[in-house]
Amino acid sequence: MAVSPQDVSRLADLARIELTDQELAELAPQIDVILDAVASVSEVADLDIAPISHAVQQTNVMREDICTPSFAPEAMLAGAPAVVEQRFRVPRIIDDSNAQ
């Protein structure tokens, strides 16, 4: 089960990370080695064992439905990469298919 640079490219696409060809070539064999090392867990894949997501028993927590002060807009926008009219300015959301 060798992971190819093309496989890594597809995963990077799902994870929204642009990787250079060199990064893809370096990552593929590394991911391959790591996956080999962790593959042993799949021996329990078909066993009837309850999976756990947290070690300590978790119960859902509710809070009182009380209004509390929010942060000032200026405080929230202070770290924004771009601001316009007291809002986050984002790049256009429709891709130009030619620019892909």
């Binding site: 995963l11 990077a12 590394q30 927590v61 929230m76």
Partner: protein, 509 residues
């Protein structure tokens, strides 16, 4: 006079401040001076708050002068904070270029609690990027060096926090531990570090890596100092839904007691043998003998599924991490690349994450994305969650036979910078002994137990206790500290070589 400040325990500094024997300003200034003197070599800090720290110190001194009771035994004592915790006074970067210069609009609960307790925040310490690593080499701002040997790593990911303590730049520090990130660096620098029970310390305002494993804890030079800091930062927090609504175990009194007579100490068979440095195993065995002499009963326990702990961890952690780091999307905070009116939001997002994340973070995001992707989920992530159940059952069975479980903290002492950067798997193996506690939510600590006779570098002894049995960790740690110091004639850190320019220089023989 100032040497006296550096070598003093944090609790002793707190006592002097409360008694009016020494001011918090004088003490804080001494640590700032040491930071200025040795930082060019060690690089433990990403930011230092000279002005803010002295202001906080002066406020404590003023309260004492006005006759007020100080809010905690550590009021006026300086602390260094891992740069994974939000703190309004300084940038919060997580060691990543993607957050370079970002300032949080709020304080983490742990930071708030420390400020309320009168602690003085010196600065933010270096870490592996988003806490991803075991050497502090993956920091986007350059590595931290081990004060014992500047060519070596201080461990990680809380490498900056422990290095600050070992280099006498701070008497206390805050670290976080997802798979060993407090304990392994503590071991590699001859300092004390404890990962509390999962949920014991609030994660609110701590940048998330793997939410079901992350836990914040104290770093210190002595067991009692760590316990005192633990009591300040622990406790229920409604702002963290995984926070445990229970009383904080009495860890400081356990640290002062240190009585292990009659305690059953379980040596985990699977955490030793092949792959462990002979010097590490030697110090571990000698320390066990000391505990037996102090009245503990040593038993051997087996946790067969610990053999699968690393595989389990390196699936669960990247899966959770890849989800958590999806929030760095270049829209509301942090770096934004390629915003030129031509590229779309999604293209900007890809470019920003490609440029802003370092190699190890990308590696883990890719790995997590793989483990969670359709067709592989059951075989990888699903199986890892089942294996986690088996590991938790092993631990439960082991605690039927023993009150605490013990092992070395890491298979080896600190390695050289650059030695493992291109071999991720070799680096991951450094977490073998520490991972099970995170998977099972246990309390666990690392305590200095000597120098490896082959390389002269510190070795750590790990103590693991059941969920909410944190006091047992400190009890055993205190016993070790007492017995070992009697042998050494003082703390292990006294054996560390003096750094050039160090303010302690006049004192080193």
């Amino acid at each position: 006079m100032t040497t006296d400040i550096y070598r003093a325990d944090a609790l002793e500094l707190g006592r002097r401040i409360a008694a009016g024997e020494q001011s918090s300003v004088e003490i804080t200034q001494a640590f700032l001076d040491q930071i200025d003197a040795v930082e060019p070599q060690v690089h433990a800090f990403l930011s230092v708050d000279h002005h803010g720290a002295l202001e906080q110190a002066a406020a404590v001194d003023a309260r004492r002068a006005a006759g007020e009771d100080l809010p905690s035994p550590l009021a006026g004592v300086p602390v260094a904070v891992k740069d994974l915790l939000c703190y309004r006074n300084l940038p919060t970067t997580a060691g990543s270029r993607i957050l370079e210069g970002w300032r949080s609009p709020y304080d983490a609960t742990v930071v708030r609690k420390m400020l309320e307790a009168g602690l003085v925040i010196l600065g933010k310490t270096n870490l592996d990027e988003f806490a991803c690593g075991g050497s502090t080499e993956t920091s986007g701002f350059g590595p931290t060096r081990n004060p014992w040997d500047l060519d070596r790593i201080p461990g990680g990911s809380s490498g900056g926090s422990v290095a600050a303590i070992a280099a006498w730049e701070a008497p206390l520090a805050i670290g976080t531990d997802t798979g060993g990130s407090i304990r392994q660096p503590a071991a590699m620098t001859g300092t004390v570090g404890v990962k509390p029970t999962y949920g014991a310390v609030s994660r609110y305002g701590i940048i998330a890596m793997a939410s079901s494993l992350d836990q914040c804890g104290p770093c210190a030079r002595t067991v009692a100092d760590a316990a005192a800091l633990h009591e300040i930062i622990a406790g229920y927090d409604p702002a963290d839904s995984t926070s445990l609504d229970v009383a904080v175990p009495a860890v400081l009194s356990a640290a002062r007691n240190g009585d292990v007579s009659g305690m059953r100490i379980g040596v985990v068979t699977e955490l030793g043998g092949e792959g462990y440095a002979p010097g590490v195993e030697q110090r571990f065995a000698e320390t066990l003998d000391l505990l037996a002499k102090a009245g503990a009963e040593i038993v051997e326990v087996s946790c067969p599924h610990f053999e699968q702990a690393m595989a389990t961890y390196y699936l669960i952690m990247p899966s959770e991490m890849s989800s958590n780091l999806a929030r760095y999307d270049a829209m509301r905070y942090g770096l934004r690349v390629g915003d030129d009116a031509r590229h779309s939001a999604e293209q900007v997002m890809r470019a920003t994450r490609g440029q802003g994340f370092g190699a190890e973070v990308k590696r883990r995001i890719i790995l997590g994305t793989y483990a969670l992707s359709a067709g592989y989920y059951d075989a990888y992530y699903g199986s890892a969650q089942k294996m986690r159940t088996l590991i938790a059952r092993d631990v439960e069975a082991a605690f039927q036979q023993a009150d605490v479980l013990v092992s070395p903290v890491a298979p080896t002492t600190a390695y050289r910078l650059g030695e493992k950067v291109d071999d991720p798997l070799a680096m991951y193996k450094g977490d073998l002994c520490t991972i099970p506690s995170n998977l099972a939510g246990l309390a666990a600590g690392s305590f200095p137990c000597g120098l490896d006779p082959n390389d002269g570098l510190p070795v750590g002894f790990q103590v693991m206790a059941p969920v909410l049995g944190d006091d047992r960790v400190y009890r055993v740690g205190a016993a070790l500290e007492r017995e070992l110091r009697a042998q050494w004639g003082g703390p292990l850190l006294a054996k560390a070589p003096a750094l050039a320019g160090s303010k302690l220089k006049g004192d080193s023989k």
